[in-house]
């Protein structure tokens, strides 16, 4: 198999907050193959957004390495890193907050071209118009308007256009549809799929909503308190989750089906603080299968079924 386009090896990201250390990402290794969508799910504070930002080196990592197309991003600085970022872009959760409210839409989308050194105004204009049309915005009506004149869904289209204008190879989508209403969410998810096919993109799709992740991902990685629990092909994860935390996440989804009675008491407890994560397996304090070994030994990701990796001493087998 060819080397992955993005390769994260033993990534560690720690922040210092008031003299204490937040262990946001603690030794994550992950590959994203060219052309695939890797879904990354987990609850707030699990480190998924930090991981996404570390991929672009917007948050510098404390340890480990990130390689993109064979080049080490973690070793890059200054101009080299900026050049590399033209190939890797980011779409944020809050479409309104991530756009400068005082700049016209056309300028917002053209900005990456200016940063990348596209000097010709006509050339920039041509590319801005093309990408606007691709994401379903009418260039003539939106070009001179401000973000505040648009709805959340339209703003997310502008963000997507801005991310696409340099024709990157890789996009980190950080909760791109979480702030949107159901009817608008479907439009944006379809748009991302179309753009992926049209531009031959590879996506890291970060979300807390498993149904959304299921709809777009080829493989899914489940994260808990800074570590990976499970990485598996989408179907395998949803049909035969191997990690008790994956199972819990699936069982906790409110199903839009009145004939599925919610199982009461399926979820217990809340994630502990990433300032003082539990020893051994970080999920053990909420895990129904935990025993002594889970407290003393940290489980490593290991292959359980074809392409299905799990970090658990007592994985679920069968259904």
């Amino acid at each position: 198999m060819s080397a992955p386009l993005l390769e994260v090896s033993d990534l560690v990201v720690e922040y210092r907050v008031g003299g204490r250390i937040v262990h946001a990402v603690s030794g994550v290794s992950l590959g994203v193959r060219r052309g695939e969508t890797l879904g990354l799910v987990g609850e707030s504070g699990c480190g998924k957004s930090t991981l996404g930002r570390a991929v672009l080196q917007l948050t510098r990592s404390t340890g480990g390495e990130i390689r993109f197309d064979g080049h080490s991003l973690t070793a890059m600085r200054g101009e080299t890193l900026r050049k590399m970022r033209q190939r890797v872009q980011l779409i944020f959760q809050d479409p309104i907050a991530s756009l400068n409210p005082r700049r016209r839409t056309g300028d917002i989308i053209a900005e990456p071209l200016i940063v990348a050194g596209v000097r010709s105004r006509a050339e920039r204009d041509r590319r801005v118009r093309a990408v606007m049309e691709a994401v379903g915005l009418d260039p003539d009506t939106v070009m001179n308007r401000l973000p505040s004149e648009f709805s959340g869904g339209q703003c997310q289209r502008i963000s997507i256009a801005r991310a696409l204008v340099l024709e990157p190879e890789f996009i980190v989508c950080d909760e791109p549809v979480s702030a949107l209403d159901v009817s608008i969410r479907a439009q944006i998810l379809n748009l991302l799929e179309d753009m992926k096919n049209r531009y031959g993109l590879t996506l890291l799709f970060i979300a807390h909503d498993l149904a959304v992740v299921r709809a777009v991902s080829d493989r899914v990685a489940v994260m808990y308190l800074g570590r990976l629990c499970e990485v598996a092909p989408t179907d395998a994860l949803f049909v035969r989750p191997a990690h008790p935390y994956s199972r819990l996440l699936l069982d906790a989804i409110p199903m839009p089906d009145p004939d599925i009675r919610p199982i009461e008491g399926v979820a217990v407890g809340e994630p502990p603080s990433p300032i003082a994560p539990p020893s051994g397996c970080r999920f053990r304090t909420r895990c129904p299968r935990a025993d002594a070994i889970c407290a003393s030994e940290m489980p490593e990701l290991r292959l359980l079924a074809p392409e299905q990796y799990v970090a658990c001493h007592h994985p679920l087998t069968g259904s």
Partner: protein, 319 residues
């Protein structure tokens, strides 16, 4: 007799762009002990509707119609009579417990204050009941928690405290306005379990307001769908999910990504977006986005009806 009935309820808000009709003629009845889900997207008026029931609208709002609670029109009550009603009769849980709890008072003070304001209990009895309530909503070590401040608790724990305060005076109707929207999925499941258990145990009626059809599917007796300030469909929960009649309900259900569909399945979308609520339009508000719309849809507004086994809908061309 219904516990609550709304008769031709309207809410108008003056805005710089003209009058905004947030709630546009809502008729609704709720019996004691029943759970009603109100579902709709941002701006559909669901929150304004709940504020109108609670008599918590902004001062500039103009309200029309009647809000009948146990036979009396509470929109005509004087402030002191209304205050006596809140707590023992009507209580509310908001989306964000960080803004509904007072940040400078301890959990205990806030609970005791509520209990003493509405019930004839002395300080010691109020503290005893406060501890009991915290335990009932699943807060570990309730005695210690009484002395803590909201910021010392997680989001899920804060929402449990807000629920404890709402339940403290044994209300006959609880309005839960997006109570789990700010929470993670595993915590959401726990809070929804808690609300379901307490409504059963106390024979309390509940209005559960949400944008998420999954949240109401397994946990309500009836569901009302709102669009552009009106209820467009109301039915027993199973009937609504299995046989939606109004095209908006049908489209909303279709737009949810399904957990059992294959990755990269294209989602059905609702094109366009909701109408501007400052502009009155003669016909059905959904007509411009409706794929079944015909000429008559833009001429007259369909009323809510006919009632068939408790199922009513506002549509000229139902499914």
């Amino acid at each position: 007799m219904s516990l609550l009935s709304l008769e031709g309820l309207t809410v108008d808000l003056p805005t710089p762009r003209g009058n905004l009709r947030a709630v546009d003629g809502v008729d609704l009845a709720l019996a004691a002990g029943q759970t009603l889900g109100i579902v709709g997207e941002s701006g559909c008026g669901k929150t304004m509707l709940s504020r109108a029931i609670l008599q918590l609208l902004p001062k500039r709002a103009r309200v029309g119609g009647r809000v009948m609670f146990e036979g009396q029109d509470i929109s005509k009550l004087r402030p002191d009579a209304l205050r006596r009603l809140r707590g023992p009769a009507l209580a509310v849980v908001f989306q964000d417990p960080m803004t509904s709890l007072n940040p400078v008072l301890t959990i205990g003070t806030q609970l005791v204050e509520t209990l003493q304001a509405h019930l004839a209990v002395d300080g010691r009895e109020a503290v005893r009941r406060g501890v009991e309530l915290l335990a009932a909503v699943g807060i570990p070590a309730p005695e210690q928690r009484m002395g803590q401040y909201p910021h010392q608790l997680s989001g899920g724990m804060r929402q449990r405290v807000a629920i404890a305060i709402a339940l403290s005076c044994e209300p006959r109707l609880l309005i839960a306005d997006e109570p789990t929207t700010a929470l993670d999925v595993t915590v959401q499941a726990q809070i929804l379990d808690l609300l379901a258990r307490e409504t059963r145990r106390r024979h309390m009626a509940m209005i559960l307001i949400t944008h998420d059809l999954g949240v109401v599917a397994g946990r309500t007796d009836e569901v009302a769908v709102m669009y552009a300030g009106r209820i467009v469909e109301r039915a027993p929960t199973r009937a609504l999910f299995h046989g939606p009649r109004m095209p908006y309900t049908e489209a909303l259900l279709a737009a949810i990504p399904k957990l059992d569909s294959a990755p990269h399945t294209r989602l059905p979308t609702i094109e366009g977006r909701p109408p501007d609520p400052t502009r009155r339009m003669p016909g059905c508000a959904f007509a411009p986005r409706c794929r079944y719309a015909e000429g008559d849809c833009v001429v007259g507004k369909p009323g809510l009806g006919p009632v068939d086994a408790g199922h009513e809908f506002a549509c000229w061309h139902p499914r």
